[in-house]
């Protein structure tokens, strides 16, 4: 770990004012400290934002939810409002990491967690994300955990967050504050594909602070669900996961949103799947068609080829689970 300057922020303004090019905010620290110990993150200064008043969950005037950036993953998952109205989010959070990690991890930090690509986490390897232009060690390496959607010849690392996948399906908006003022960024526009610049993962400017995330209200009797598939039953990142937000009426799908985790270079919203579903009768055939459509753009490699089929299965099952009449 490289030596760094440490400060505690007293206000969002102070945090932003003191943040430079090589500053990192520290929230729960479960990603940042881990990567600093590996010398992958080498900030010159670290600003602790744990004292900021961004730890509340409130119902917004439009009936949606406003979630402070410092709300812990556990608190968000067990919040009564979230459990009742945004089940997909609660399920996604509870499927992630371990209770100890969730007690520390925050909403803002979770959105910005980094990939678990083995080669990104070790400075002895070539990695375009860590060191632009150096090459990608995963494409010729072991890439069972890597992405089949959204990859490029420069990077195929998965975005590992479960929470962000649920938020994609919920059409969340990220609210920020930076040197240039406040911004509201639809989550859909927040993440970037790796392309030839895998080091840029999102649209945040250096020193820009996430203050909160908002969720729009969902129409009455909308159902939502998160399903995560992996080798073991707990404490593992997704091999393939699906977040589904859906409303049916008389067996017909009025609207559906489908997002995928564990298979994309960013939390993956599949408009292709949604299009297949809209207005159709909810049945296995249409679910399968949606799954096929979602994975049509997939570019699998040797070790992760199975994820294409696994992702289809998880979509179908998540749709079944949300449309079954109990």
């Amino acid at each position: 770990m490289q030596s760094f300057e440490y400060r505690q922020a007293r206000s969002p303004e102070g945090a932003i004012a003191n943040a430079g090019e090589k500053t990192r905010f520290i929230a729960g620290g479960t990603t940042l400290v881990d990567l600093m110990k590996l010398d992958v993150e080498r900030p010159a200064s670290v600003i602790d934002i744990n004292g900021l008043p961004l730890d509340r969950i409130e119902v917004s005037p439009d009936g949606g939810l406003k979630i402070g950036a410092m709300v812990r993953n556990s608190d968000l998952a067990w919040n009564a409002n979230v459990r009742q109205r945004y089940a997909v989010l609660s399920e996604a959070l509870l499927s992630g990491a371990s209770p100890q990690l969730r007690n520390m991890a925050t909403t803002g930090g979770n959105l910005l967690q980094r990939t678990r690509c083995y080669y990104f986490r070790d400075t002895n390897y070539k990695c375009n994300k860590r060191e632009p232009g150096s090459g990608c060690s995963a494409i010729d390496g072991f890439h069972r955990i890597h992405a089949v959607l959204g990859g490029s010849e420069h990077c195929i690392a998965t975005h590992p967050s479960d929470m962000a996948v649920a938020m994609m399906a919920l059409e969340a908006t990220v609210h920020t504050r930076g040197a240039k003022g406040e911004r509201s960024i639809p989550l859909n526009d927040f993440y970037l594909l790796p392309g030839s610049t895998p080091d840029s993962e999102n649209v945040l400017e250096p020193g820009e602070l996430i203050t909160h995330v908002t969720l729009p209200p969902l129409p009455q009797s909308t159902r939502s669900h998160y399903l995560k598939l992996r080798d073991r039953a707990s404490y593992e990142f997704a091999l393939a996961s699906a977040a589904v937000v859906i409303r049916t009426s008389g067996g017909r799908i009025e609207f559906a949103r489908v997002a995928l985790g564990g298979v994309g270079t960013k939390p993956w919203r599949s408009r292709e799947a949604e299009q297949e579903l809209h207005g159709h009768e909810a049945n296995e055939r249409i679910f399968r068609a949606a799954a096929e459509a979602a994975l049509k753009p997939a570019k699998p490699l040797r070790d992760n080829a199975f994820k294409v089929e696994l992702a289809k299965r998880v979509i179908v099952r998540a749709l079944e689970n949300t449309t079954q009449t109990a």
Binding site: Y118, N124, A233, F306
Partner: protein, 740 residues
């Protein structure tokens, strides 16, 4: 022998220390003026060090010294087999400029604080002349060396050729890494030419011996202290380089030095279970009688030592069969040196044998349990000796009944629970039952307490508790008044905690030492004026016979309370206490027998074909492992073995990058073992037949047998549920996904 405390479910006597954090593990020991050593580890797997540039690191704050092959004092090589000692690697650290595996100690930076040492260690620049490493067995040429195992009886090849039913399959077990919670670590502290090592080890006596060899010191100049061990699973049996590095560094900087192995290097420089590739050929008659077993094994070792994973060890004795051949060869790779891991040899070796038995049962359309009964070995045909107690038939029968095996429908995917397909599996478990030597001292103190001591150690299995139980059994002193002192090489030499032999080895010596001290106490009672048992020397005839029960010395034919509490006898002579010692060796009786424990596993998996989700849902295991001394710790060992086996079958695998030999999943997040959520309801039953040939209690060890056979029981259940036979562990989603 009163029996109440032997066999009871006794909680650990050290439980409170552990749960409150008061138990002191190796690098917890507070020493004044301690300095910290951080390793610099190789980032290539094969080649030479051309240059080590320490200029920048030396200038870092707090740095005291940096040791590497160019400047460190020479260590001697361990004498190993010639001294009946064992180190993990024949090559001591810093011996030369060679790099033989990724994660090898290249240098150690010693600094005032851990952070300073770690920071400076990242600034040591090493230039290598790199050569292409050989990391995977599959990339290696066929071995040409002498076989390391070569067993034969009858004519297995001819019998196979003419057998009406043949199974010929190849099975693979991956590298597994021990990963105990407590990482390896040492504090070395010198006083003149004497060194004390605070260690985490499964054998303080062997550790002391090896360190005296490599440091070139008289044995008594080395003291090894290891009161607690955050488990070892075999990985802490023999000394690893870090211990030698700590001793070297502490001698150089003239301060105590603490070195621990970071989690990432727990995958490189402290051992693993090697990769094995095993061809198993079974020949059988149409009614399921084995006529030939051929077991061909390739297992891997490193370039700096020769480690043999004895996969063929149970092959010649597990079933009755006239023609058996078992041959093993080694393949050296550019990886760290393998070492025993829970159930070494047998655990990976029984996987192909038990899997092939199931494949044979399917071919014969026979119940796999019935096939095993038809080939039941009544004696050990490899040694031509009777078993020292084998009750496997009963273990099969009880397990089958508890599990409900008779309700099994053998057809693939035929059994269901709602939307889930059920798969059932079973297997045979075995582990050898042995006993080594031990010396134990037991002291009865004037304050009414007892103390037992020996240079063995409790690696988390319950040795402290079992020793206290034996002392209590022999004296009636309650457990809370018995102190057990272990984990210090200056105590009377005790056994290594390995191979499930510690309990069987140490118990006879504890019993002997306790008997001896009680006898001394009785003679004191008889020779001391004022004692109610005083016998005048001149009187003829035998004195009335005395014994010790409930802490009282009393006439053998009267109630304990009629006698005198033992400490009052000591007080009559104003003694602080008295000692008894016993030294025992291996059991002579056992030469006439083949010693093995046996058991059966029955398991159920659930398979959700829609999402390719496989989970273990039920487990029954029945063990024939002699007399159980402590039901709690024994059950804990067996079920812990099953949990580890679930990981072996479905999750565990160390992934090495073929380009540089790096274990890629080198942390607790990425190296998967079973979590609580992966562990089903489990039941463990003991059929208790004391093995009196082994020791007076009839106790055997139970540390490893729980793991043997688990993986094949699961792959059998996987086949039953999915129709897919997985012969390469672990079973992965992608193996099953295509088959619904």
């Amino acid at each position: 022998m009163s029996t109440s405390i032997i066999g009871a479910a006794v909680g650990r006597v050290d439980g409170k220390l552990k749960t409150t954090g008061a138990a002191r593990y190796a690098i917890d020991h507070p020493l004044d003026n301690v300095a910290y050593g951080a390793g610099v580890f190789s980032t290539i797997a094969n080649g030479k060090i051309v240059r080590i540039d320490t200029a920048e690191a030396e200038k870092m704050p707090g740095v005291i010294d940096i040791l590497h092959h160019g400047n460190a004092d020479q260590l001697y090589r361990p004498a190993g087999q010639f001294e009946h000692s064992r180190a993990s690697e024949a090559r001591p650290p810093f011996e030369d400029d060679g790099v033989y595996y990724y994660g090898q100690f290249i240098a150690v930076v010693v600094a005032n604080t851990l952070e300073q040492a770690q920071d400076a260690a990242t600034r040591v620049k090493v230039t290598y002349a790199e050569e292409k490493p050989l990391v995977h067995l599959e990339d290696a040429p066929a071995p040409t060396g002498e076989p390391v195992a070569n067993y034969s009886r009858g004519d297995a090849e001819a019998a196979f050729e003419s057998a009406p039913i043949k199974i010929d399959e190849t099975y693979i077990t991956p590298v597994e890494t021990h990963n105990p919670m407590e990482m390896h670590g040492t504090i070395a502290a010198w006083d003149g030419d004497k060194v004390t090592l605070y260690e985490t080890t499964q054998g303080v006596v062997n550790h002391q011996q090896v360190m005296s060899e490599v440091l070139g010191l008289p044995l008594e100049n080395v003291r090894v202290i290891s009161p607690f061990c955050g488990s070892g699973f075999g990985g802490k049996l023999f000394p690893w380089p870090h211990s030698m590095v700590a001793a070297l560094a502490a001698r150089r900087v003239k301060r105590p030095v603490k070195v621990y192995v970071p989690r990432s290097m727990m995958f490189t420089t402290v051992g693993h279970r090697p990769y094995t590739k095993q061809r198993m050929r079974l020949g059988a008659t149409a009614d399921g009688k084995l006529v030939s077993i051929q077991h061909d094994v390739l297992s891997t070792t490193s370039k700096v030592d020769t480690y043999v994973e004895h996969c063929t060890s149970s092959t010649p004795m597990l079933y009755t069969c006239p023609n058996v051949k078992a041959v093993q060869h080694l393949v050296p790779l550019n990886v760290g040196t393998p070492t025993p891991m829970r159930g070494p040899g047998t655990v990976p070796g029984i996987f192909p044998l038990e899997s092939a038995m199931d494949e044979l049962a399917i071919r014969l359309n026979m119940d796999p349990l019935e096939l095993r009964l038809r080939n039941y070995a009544e004696k050990d045909e490899s040694l031509n000796l009777p078993f020292s107690g084998k009750h496997l038939r009963e273990a099969y029968q009880i397990g089958a009944e508890r599990f409900g095996w008779s309700k099994r429908n053998p057809k693939v995917a035929s059994m269901r629970d709602g939307g889930l397909v059920l798969g059932w599996g079973m297997s045979t478990a075995t582990w050898h039952a042995g006993r080594g030597g031990a010396t134990v001292r037991v002291r009865l103190n004037a304050d009414g307490t007892a103390r037992a001591s020996s240079a063995t150690q409790d690696i988390g299995t319950g040795t402290y508790t079992v020793i206290a139980q034996v002392v209590s059994d022999k004296t009636g002193i309650p457990l809370n008044k018995i102190e057990v002192v272990l984990g210090d090489s200056s105590l009377p030499p005790g056994p290594t905690s390995g191979g499930s032999t510690a309990t069987a080895s140490v118990m006879p010596a504890v019993a002997g030492a306790t008997n001896s001290v009680v006898n001394t106490l009785i003679s004191i009672a008889q020779r001391t004026q004022g004692s109610p048992f005083y016998v005048k020397e001149t009187q003829g005839g035998d004195p009335p016979s005395l014994k010790m029960t409930k802490g009282f010395i009393h006439a053998a034919d009267k109630a304990p309370e009629s006698g005198v509490p033992f400490h009052e006898i000591l007080a009559m002579r104003r003694l602080s206490g008295i000692d008894g010692e016993a030294k025992t060796g291996p059991s002579e009786e056992m030469h006439k027998f083949s010693g093995h424990s046996f058991g059966s596993h029955f398991c159920e998996v659930t398979w959700d074909p829609g999402i390719a989700r496989l989970r273990v849902s039920r487990w029954v295991t029945v063990m024939d492992a002699g007399r159980i001394i402590n039901r709690k710790t024994a059950t804990n060992q067996i079920l812990g073995g099953v949990v580890m086996g679930i990981g072996m079958a479905l999750l565990e695998e160390t992934l090495y990058d073929p380009r540089n030999g790096k274990p890629l999943n080198n942390n607790y997040g990425d190296y998967l073992v079973s979590t609580n959520a992966d562990v089903p309801a489990m039941e463990c039953i003991f059929v208790e037949y004391p093995d009196l040939n082994l020791n007076e209690y009839g106790a055997r060890g139970v540390g490893e047998i729980g793991l043997a056979g688990v993986a094949s029981a699961i792959t059998m259940a996987v086949y039953h549920a999915t129709g897919v036979r997985v012969r390469k562990l672990p079973v992965r989603i992608e193996d099953l996904l295509g088959h619904v």
